[in-house]
C-alpha cells in the first residue's frame, strides 16, 4: 500500500486502535487535517485551546488506561500544549502528541509559527522524535506508542515537519506490529532475591503499613493490591494519585496520607516499623520534612522506575518491576511461607490506629447556615452512589473531593497531582465522558480553576459530552488564601477576585444549564436535578463558606506527627498530638 505522509499518520493511528484524537488545526498540520477529513474511524475532537486538547486526552487516558492522543499545529499550537504535556509527565500518563512543524528546509530560520518543539518539550516528555524522513514515519509513531505505554508511562511528542506530510509524496506503508528499541528495556518482574528479602521483612513487622500510589492504577494492579493487603491484614494508605486503587470504604483503609491526609494515616506512617511503598514516589507533599519521615521504619519500595527508588528517601529493600507481577510474586512467596504475620502485634497496632481514627479528623461543622464544601462532596457521593468519575482542578476543592468522596474503584478519581494544573478538570471530564458516555462524570472545581479552561464548555456541547460541573465558589483562590491565613498573618495578597463572572449566564451562553445555590438545604435537590438531566451539561455554581479551610494539614516542611487539626466547633487550632 502506498500512502502519503498525512495518510500514514492517520492510518497508523487507526492501526494503533486510536478512537479519539484531541486537537486544533493550523498551517503546519493542514495536510494531516485533510487526511483526517477523508476517513471516519479516528474521531477528532476540536477543542477550543490546545491546553484543553492535552487535558482531555489525559482524562481519557486516566479513565481508560489507553494512551491519549493529541494533534496540534506548530508554534503557538505546540507551546499551548506544553502545560498539558507537563501535567501528563508528572503523573506518568501515557500520551502521544503529534505536533506539526514548519517544513524541513526552513527549520531553524525563525519561520512563521516555528518553535523548537523537540527542544522545548525535552524536560517534560518521556521521549520525543523529530521525523526527518517520510519512510520512517509509521515506525516512529509505533515507537511513540510503545514508549508512552510501557515501563513508567509518559507523554511522547512526535514533531512532523509539513513537507513530511506532503500529499504528493507517496511511499509504501506498513505499520509495524512490534518495535524494539535496543536502549529501552523496562523491567517487568522483580528480582527474586529482593522479593524474598521483602517478604521476610513483612513477616517480622510489628507496625506495618502499605503505602500505595498512582503506580498501582497505572499498572492495573488494584485487584492484586487488595488481595495482598487482605492476605496480610495490614493497614493501607493511598496517595492522592492512588485513590481508588484500594477501596476507600474498606475497614483496612486508613485514608489518604500526606499534607491533607488523615490523622490516622499520617500517624501510622510516622510510628510504623515497616513500610511497603507500592507504585508511589515519596513526593514532598507525602513525606513532609524528609529527615523526620518515618523515623523508625524499614522501607520496601516497588517501582517500575529505578530512578524513583531512593531518590528522596533511602529504602531498605528496593524492587524494580511492574507492580502487578511483583505483587503476584510476593503473594506466592507469602502463601508458601510457613511464617505468618504476628497476630498479636497486628492486633495491638490496629488498636492504636483505631484510637487515632477515633479523633475523627474529617469532622466539620454540620450546623453551619452556610454551605460547607465538604457537605457538597458528601452529597455528590450519595447522589452518584459513589460510582461517578470525578475530575478536579487544583486547590481546596481538589483536596475536599479527595477527602470526602471515598473512591472504591481505580481510574475514577482524575486529578493533576504532580504538576497541580489549574484548568485540568473540565477538559479532562470531557475526555472521560467521551470514553464512558453512559457513566456520570463530574468536575469538582473552584471559581479560580474553572476560569482557566472554561472555553471547553463549547467543546462539551459540540461533541455531546454532558458533564456536571460542581463549582465550589468561595470568591477566593482558596488554597492560596488558606496559606496566607496560616503563614502570612492573613495578608490576602491577590487571592481574591473582585469580578467573578455570572457563571449561570456564562454557562447558558455556551448552551448549557446553569444553577446557582447558596443554602445548605438546596445542595441535595440541586445535585439531584443536575444529575437527572442526563443529556445536558450542568454548571452548579455553589456559593460556599468563604472562610473554610482544608484540614488536617501538615504545613510544608513539617513532619507527619505535626498536624494542624480542626476542633469540633469548626474553628481551627494547632494540636500537638504526638
Amino acid at each position: 500500500m502506498e500512502l502519503n505522509g498525512a495518510q500514514i499518520v492517520i492510518q497508523s493511528l487507526k492501526d494503533e486502535g486510536v478512537e479519539y484524537i484531541f486537537g486544533y488545526p493550523g498551517g503546519a498540520v493542514l495536510h494531516l487535517y485533510d487526511a483526517l477529513f477523508q476517513q471516519e474511524d479516528v474521531k477528532h475532537i476540536l477543542v477550543r485551546h490546545e491546553q484543553g486538547a492535552t487535558h482531555a486526552a489525559d482524562g481519557y487516558a486516566r479513565a481508560t488506561g489507553k494512551p491519549g492522543v493529541v494533534l496540534v499545529t506548530s508554534g503557538p499550537g505546540a507551546t499551548n500544549a506544553i502545560t498539558g504535556i507537563a501535567t501528563a509527565y508528572m503523573d506518568s500518563i501515557p500520551m502521544v502528541v503529534i505536533s506539526g512543524q514548519v517544513p524541513s528546509p526552513v527549520i531553524g530560520s525563525d519561520a512563521f509559527q516555528e518553535v523548537d518543539m523537540v527542544g522545548i518539550t525535552r524536560p517534560c516528555v518521556k521521549h520525543n522524535f523529530l521525523v526527518k524522513d517520510v519512510t520512517k514515519l509509521a515506525e516512529t509513531i509505533k515507537k511513540a506508542f510503545y514508549v508512552a505505554t510501557t515501563g513508567r508511562p509518559g507523554p511522547v511528542v512526535v514533531d512532523i515537519p509539513k513537507d513530511i506530510t506532503d500529499p504528493k509524496i507517496k511511499v509504501p506503508y506498513k505499520y509495524p506490529k512490534k518495535v524494539s528499541i535496543r536502549s529501552y528495556n523496562p523491567a517487568v518482574t522483580g528480582h527474586k532475591g529482593q522479593i524474598k528479602k521483602a517478604v521476610d521483612l513483612l513477616l517480622t513487622a510489628q507496625k506495618p503499613i502499605i503505602y500505595s500510589g498512582g503506580g498501582v492504577i497505572l499498572g492495573e494492579a488494584s485487584k492484586e493490591l487488595v488481595e495482598f493487603s487482605q492476605l496480610l491484614g495490614f493497614p493501607v494508605t493511598n496517595t492522592l494519585m492512588g485513590l481508588g486503587a484500594y477501596p476507600a470504604t474498606d475497614k483496612q483503609f486508613v485514608g489518604m496520607l500526606g499534607m491533607h491526609g488523615t490523622y490516622e494515616a499520617n500517624m501510622a506512617m510516622h510510628d510504623s516499623d515497616v513500610i511497603i511503598a507500592i507504585g508511589a514516589r515519596f513526593d514532598d507533599r507525602v513525606t513532609g520534612k524528609l529527615d523526620q519521615f518515618c523515623p523508625h521504619a524499614q522501607i520496601i519500595h516497588i517501582d517500575v522506575d529505578p530512578a524513583s527508588i531512593s531518590k528522596t528517601v533511602k529504602v531498605t529493600v528496593p524492587i524494580v518491576g511492574e507492580v502487578k507481577p511483583v505483587l503476584e510474586q510476593m503473594m506466592e512467596m507469602l502463601r508458601e511461607s510457613k511464617k505468618k504475620p504476628s497476630k498479636k502485634a497486628l492486633e495491638s497496632w490496629w488498636k492504636q490506629i483505631e484510637q487515632w481514627r477515633a479523633i475523627k479528623c474529617m469532622e466539620y461543622d454540620r450546623n453551619s447556615p452556610l454551605i460547607k464544601p465538604q457537605y457538597v462532596i458528601e452529597q455528590l457521593y450519595e447522589v452518584t452512589k459513589g460510582e461517578a468519575y470525578i475530575t478536579s482542578d487544583v486547590g481546596q476543592h481538589q483536596m475536599w473531593a479527595a477527602q470526602y468522596y471515598p473512591f472504591d474503584k481505580p481510574r475514577h478519581w482524575i486529578n493533576s497531582g504532580g504538576l497541580g494544573t489549574m484548568g485540568f478538570g473540565l477538559p479532562a471530564a470531557i475526555g472521560v465522558k467521551l470514553a464512558f458516555p453512559e457513566s456520570e462524570v463530574a468536575c469538582v472545581t473552584g471559581d479560580g480553576s474553572i476560569q482557566m479552561c472554561i472555553q471547553e464548555l463549547s467543546t462539551a456541547l459540540q461533541y455531546n459530552a454532558p458533564v456536571k460541573i460542581i463549582n465550589l465558589n468561595n470568591s477566593y483562590l482558596g488554597m492560596v488564601r488558606q496559606w496566607q491565613e496560616f503563614t502570612y498573618e492573613s495578608r490576602y495578597s491577590h487571592s481574591y477576585m473582585d469580578t467573578i463572572p455570572d457563571f449561570v449566564k456564562l454557562t447558558e451562553a455556551y448552551g448549557h444549564v446553569g444553577i446557582r445555590i447558596s443554602k445548605p438545604e438546596e445542595v441535595r435537590p440541586a445535585l439531584e436535578e443536575a444529575f437527572a438531566m442526563k443529556e445536558r451539561t450542568v454548571f452548579l455554581d455553589i456559593l460556599t463558606d468563604r472562610t473554610e479551610n482544608v484540614y488536617p494539614m501538615i504545613e510544608a516542611g513539617k513532619a507527619h506527627n505535626d498536624m494542624k487539626l480542626r476542633v469540633a466547633n469548626g474553628t481551627s487550632t494547632d494540636r500537638e498530638l504526638a
Binding site: 523537540v118 527542544g119 525535552r122 524536560p123 518521556k126 521521549h127 523529530l130 514508549v147 528499541i181 535496543r182 536502549s183 529501552y184 522506575d305 529505578p306 530512578a307 527508588i309 531512593s310 531518590k311 533511602k314
Partner: protein, 163 residues
Amino acid sequence: MRHIISILIENESGALSRVAGLFSARGYNIESLTVAPTEDPSLSRMTLVTRGNDDIIEQITKQLNKLIDVVKLIDLADSVHIERELMMVKIRATEQTREEIRSLADIFRGKIIDVTPTTYIVEMTGPSSKLDAFIAAIDGDTIIEVVRSGPTGISRGEKGLHL
C-alpha cells in the same frame, strides 16, 4: 567525589542535548564532557566527569539510564581504569626560553608539533593531573592558548562497555 561516567548513546541529533539538559534541569554539575562516534557509527561514546556524593551519583546514573537514547553506561570510578586527556598548548618561545620549553615538554613526554619563529605548540596526553602539572611548570606569561579535550577513560581488563 569525582566520577567519570562513560556512556554509550545513540548517535542521533539531540542525544547530546538530552544529556546536557538532564544535568542542568536537575542541578547536577558537569566538569567536562567529551563525545565522539564509536567503531559502530550508530553509537556515540560520551565521557562525562562530574562530582557528587554517592546518593547524587546514584541518581545521575539512574536518570541517565532512563533517557531512551542511552544504551549503556558505567561509572569508571567503580573499577580500575585508565584515564587520558589530550592537551595542546601554544607557548611564546623566545631565544632564551626555547630550550627550556623543549626539555620541559620532554620531561612530560609531550611533543612539539608546530614551530614558528616565535611560538611552539606542545601536544600532551595523560591524566588531567599531569596536564595541570605541566601548565604549572611553565611560565604563565608565555602561554598564548590552552585547549584541552576533557578526560576520556577506559576500564582495565577483559570487561568493556559495548552492546
